[in-house]
Symmetry: C2
């Protein structure tokens, strides 16, 4: 199959989560030794896992955070606080275990799969999987960030990674990313997909000053005006304004949904990837958990569009999958109470009937 | 020493957390490979752990959730959705591993220490520690819930448990509780300590209807009017309106603070215990983390009084230490990033200087 055909068949394979299993889980939860509803959103998480995995016994003990890295031509416009080289340096840091996501993934008992989707200079270390679509995207202020073929290759690569993880028994996949200037790409995509202005969607990213932020807004305006008409279909928007790592994560989300695996979005960038997946096929929404609300202003709007309330609000803005790692612990806790708690009857506890 | 002397000497031993270690941690965090401040509240958690433990290398890998149980005479007023027997039944459930806190403590890698502080019928199983102050408190609508001696015994018992945990190397203690009618006691204590009306502080607890809630408000009004003049000192309020499990948790919080151990409050009831500890000595605040905001209306007010923003808001209202267990995972994640992350220099990553 061509990359385009892989994407098409994956989109066709994505069905809604099972409402029957979702409802059956609610009934089972209501018999557990606690006042009904008293575990709040943990109950919803357990129900959703049952619906996603189509089972009364969901398992998320095998879990992986996929961190995709790519460089962005638009970094040449001076939109980030960090030089482009930091993308490759941070991938090396992931490989050596020194980044935040290394510590937080370990805490969450999640494997880390780091993928070079197209860093400017190849990162050649054993720990990093190389699925390079190119040496970074083109500057989308001047034209499309990638060709259709490149977009298809990146999305298909993400799908294939999810299929591989599904085959190895993974029940939950976190989305992480690294790519200097990728908040610029994400704000641009969000603006086109939501109709909201670049001004209100664009924040300080990794820490730029107000003058640089205004410049960033102008770069996004120019890119959208010259390069990507509003109302375009989501995968075309992705090609015009995205990054290889963002496109790869769209594929991870779609592949996971096609195989009934829970997808845990992280911050702004990975949530934009999740939103592109949802726009490509609305049923993908059923498989997505939104982990946290970051301080990046566009993120709250993207979360609203995805339609799931985030689990955490800790003023984070790092990316890498760090928020997803924290949320995975909450989802794992939901799976654990659902699996392990006794019923009123089996524990000999009087029920209020309420 | 008498129980009263134990309490006095513990209060005297509680000093502020170390601002020097708190500040030094901030500097160390700013050199780690991420944009400054980008881990948001996780950074604050790591800093606070350093200040609490007075070290550049805090450890919370040994952690315990202390779940204290007690019965309440005021349950005879029909203020709960569940019969009083459920307190003992749930303690048995804890012992057999079937409750929510069993599943969530295991997820959080926390030991569970279940203490019978005064359940109506003694719970005689090996798993449960017996520190019974009496067969439940008296009905505080009719007079003080406990005598001064009983209050001192319960608080001192909690202190001794924290000292024992400190001696075994525990770095973080979660507060959990079980006691039918203990939201009534907690609303009453909160009303006296804050001056807010029972009406605005009283919710549906484990799930009562509006008529029962209004009755609960009246019971609390009567209790405060006859029994506990506003402005009384916190430990006297505790004796008038508290429960043995609440008093025990006040002791756990004080004992932990005296030994530089982090205390993680759970829902409304354990947060009221934390607030009593803070009112008894303001420096206790430095040692307390507030885990989540429950749906019980008084909880938000108690959290404001304690003065730390809760980490989670998941619409939970179970107690038992369940929210504390979830928050402990976040605090452990903070400790992990702080300990394990590389610096810009050691990882060879370019710093933006911002």
């Amino acid at each position: 199959m061509t990359h385009e055909q892989i994407i098409k068949s994956t989109l066709d394979a994505i069905a809604p989560a099972s409402i029957e299993h979702f409802r059956a889980a609610a009934e089972r939860i209501d018999n557990k030794t606690k006042p009904r509803g008293s575990l709040g959103r943990l109950e919803e998480l357990a129900q959703r896992l049952c619906g996603i995995q189509r089972t009364a016994e969901p398992r998320v003990d095998k879990r992986t955070i996929v961190v995709m890295a790519g460089d962005h031509g638009v970094a040449a416009e001076g939109v980030s606080a960090y030089p482009r080289e930091v993308t490759a340096q941070m991938v090396q840091n992931f490989a050596h275990g020194g980044a935040a996501i290394n510590a937080l993934a370990k805490q969450a008992k999640a494997n880390l799969l780091v993928v070079d989707m197209g860093v400017a200079e190849p990162v050649e270390v054993e720990f990093v999987r190389s699925v390079r679509v190119g040496p970074g995207t083109r500057n989308f202020r001047e034209g499309p960030a990638m060709s259709s073929d490149e977009m298809h290759a990146a999305v298909a690569a993400g799908i294939e990674i999810s299929i591989e993880l599904a085959d190895s028994g993974v029940g939950m996949i976190g989305l992480g990313e690294m790519g200097i200037a990728n908040t610029t790409a994400s704000s641009a995509i969000t603006s086109v997909l939501t109709g909201l202005s670049p001004e209100e969607l664009t924040g300080v990213g990794t820490g730029i000053d107000e003058a640089t932020r205004l410049h960033k807004v102008q770069v996004i305006r120019d890119a959208i005006a010259h390069n990507c008409p509003p109302g375009d279909e989501p995968l075309k928007v992705l090609a015009c304004l995205g990054g290889f790592e963002i496109a790869g994560l769209v594929g991870v989300a779609l592949g996971a949904a096609s195989r009934h695996i829970a997808v845990v979005a992280d911050g702004f960038i990975s949530s934009v990837a999740a939103l592109v997946a949802v726009r490509a096929t609305p049923h993908a929404r059923d498989y997505i958990f939104t982990s946290h609300k970051s301080v990046e202003p566009g993120h709250a709007r993207v979360l609203e569009e995805i339609g799931h309330a985030p689990l955490l609000d800790l003023s984070m803005r790092l990316g890498e999958g760090t928020g997803a790692a924290l949320a995975m612990q909450l989802i794992a806790a939901a799976e654990a109470f659902y699996r392990e708690m006794a019923s009123f009857e089996s524990a000999g506890v009087s029920d209020s009937g309420k």
